[in-house]
């Protein structure tokens, strides 16, 4: 559907309505950047932005600051970001986040099982879930500075 080669950062994408098949939740090893459990549930509870990336992916790196800023902005409003690194060892990802901004918990998809299960074959890719159901998606770099309305619109009671 939608691996591990980046979409060229020719322009920011917008979140679109997800029209694919149902996606079952799964659990990934958590990158221990701080204290916490050993696993990350994907998707998370409430509204969660599941963001697939890799350290070598240039558009992914370009997108991270805006993604992290969005995560900080909306963290108290029912929206969380879960990052999923595709196909890399934990040591490489840990080193990457010594300088790169972290937008949320980081799950490790070393064997690409999660990417395959979620139909992700181009990086970066993002899926937005609400109550466990996929609702929005984007392939490529998203204009996260302008996504608040779409994301908050999925939060119950808003």
């Amino acid at each position: 559907m939608f691996c591990a080669t980046p979409v060229a950062a020719s322009g920011a994408e917008v979140l679109k309505v997800y029209e694919g098949p149902p996606l079952a939740a799964l659990s990934l090893p958590r990158l221990p950047l701080g204290p916490g459990p050993t696993a990350v549930r994907v998707p998370g509870e409430g509204v969660s932005v599941v963001h697939f990336f890799a350290t070598w992916c240039e558009p992914c790196r370009a997108e991270l600051p805006a993604l992290a800023a969005m995560a900080r902005r909306l963290s108290g409003q029912g929206v969380q970001v879960i990052m999923v690194d595709v196909g890399e060892p934990a040591s490489r990802v840990t080193r990457f986040f010594e300088t790169a901004p972290v937008a949320g918990e980081v799950g490790l998809d070393a064997d690409r099982v999660a990417a395959r299960a979620f139909g992700v074959d181009v990086l970066p890719a993002s899926l937005v879930f609400a109550d466990g159901q996929p609702r929005l998606m984007a392939v490529g770099e998203v204009a996260w500075d302008h996504a608040d309305k779409d994301l908050l619109g999925l939060v119950p009671g808003r």
Partner: protein, 375 residues
């Protein structure tokens, strides 16, 4: 067996090999400084090389293991693997083979608490410049059914269906001869891909992703994997050969050789295609794109004479300045229950903290030195 602090000396110690002077690099590279002769490899004389890979685990935690690729590839036309020998303080060290992928490696396991795990692996091989005259079809030994199946198969990162097959079919449309199809794919890769200097290591080689994204940038493990996948999609056997540049190019192309005896970051994969009238034929479209990007003054046009020569020379030939490891995909590291590797071209190690970053030789840490030897 060895004690924890003892250095184990094992393996098949080679016969009387002697190092040529380090000046071999300077001598071989000398023509580069003066002139660049047109790239036109031919069948050359056999030369022997050794590479010495030194791995140190700087932060050993828990059980420490390492896997170092050794030459498990051979082609009597141009590459003959030699002996491997090693010294280490590991509790065990043995040559192992991942039976499914065929990759061979030195597997080391250190005792818990070993404070300075280290291994020095010396691997030898004999190789030569090789060229197949594609104007003179012959009667090569037929490929076995097993080899044909293996070298036309999909791998995790090189699928042969879907967008790969669709793309391949478009490229070869109207062509019926396998040589014409392969030539068309080679030229298509040269004309539509690019070498991305920002790509870490040699790339990932996820070719369906490359095609879907429309971004055909990367390095050898990307571009030659793309070539191999597109050829395999036509049912024509093709294989990536993962290895290491060990000597300068005799044609003065700095981009196509090792320019120092330290080759820690000189990994390179090539490709071979089996053509029924020619046998295994060397091909390296990724190196054509490397010439385009890197040969002075840089970012050369496709009609630059250096590129034209490399484009012609690397379709059916290459220099024997390179050490082949294997043609393996989806490599399982024996004794490790993590994800299989797309390919095995770099030393690997795992500690209680997980798999170490093979693309971070300083943190890992490993160094590789090469030299030509007389035997």
């Amino acid at each position: 067996m060895t004690t924890r602090r003892d250095f184990l000396k094992a393996g098949l110690l080679a016969g009387a090999g002697s190092l040529l002077p380090a000046a071999a690099f300077a001598q071989a590279a000398a023509p580069a400084a003066a002139t660049t002769t047109p790239f036109a490899p031919n069948v050359g004389r056999w030369r022997s090389f050794q590479i010495v890979t030194t791995v140190e685990i700087l932060k050993p935690e828990g059980k420490v293991q390492a896997w170092l690729p050794v030459a498990s590839f051979s082609n009597p036309d141009w590459f003959k693997p030699g002996d491997n020998s090693w010294t280490t303080n590991a509790a065990s060290a043995k040559l192992v083979r991942d039976t499914r992928s065929g990759a061979e490696m030195l597997h080391l396991v250190w005792a818990d608490g070993e404070k300075a795990p280290r291994v020095d692996l010396t691997s030898k091989a004999t190789t030569r410049d090789w060229k197949v005259d594609l104007n003179r079809p012959g009667m090569p030994a037929p490929i076995t059914t097993e080899l044909r199946t293996k070298n036309t198969a999909s791998t995790t990162l090189i699928p042969t269906g879907g967008i790969v097959k669709e793309t391949s079919d478009k490229i070869v449309a109207g062509k019926s001869e396998e040589l014409d199809k392969v030539r068309a794919i080679f030229q298509w890769v040269v004309e539509n891909s690019y070498r991305n200097p920002a790509t870490r290591g040699c790339g990932i080689g996820d070719i369906a992703a490359m095609l879907k994204s429309g971004d055909l940038g990367g390095k050898c493990a990307d571009l030659n994997a793309l070539f191999v996948g597109l050829v395999r999609a036509q049912g024509i056997p093709a294989r990536d050969v993962y290895g290491l540049r060990v000597m300068p190019s005799q044609f003065g192309y700095k981009s196509l050789g090792a320019n120092s005896d330290i080759v820690t970051k000189a990994q390179h994969c090539r490709a071979e295609v089996y053509l029924s009238k020619f046998g295994w034929v060397p091909m390296d479209p990724a190196d054509v794109r490397k010439v385009v990007l890197e040969e002075p003054p840089g970012k050369l046009a496709l009609d630059d004479p250096k590129v034209v020569a490399a484009r012609a020379g690397l379709f059916g030939g290459w220099e024997g300045n390179w050490f082949a490891f294997n043609t393996a995909h989806d490599v399982v590291l024996p004794g490790y229950n993590g994800a299989p590797l797309g390919f095995l071209m770099y030393p690997q190690a795992v500690t209680a903290a997980g798999l170490l970053d093979c693309l971070d030789p300083d943190g890992f840490k490993y160094t590789i030195r090469s030299s030509e030897i007389a035997v």
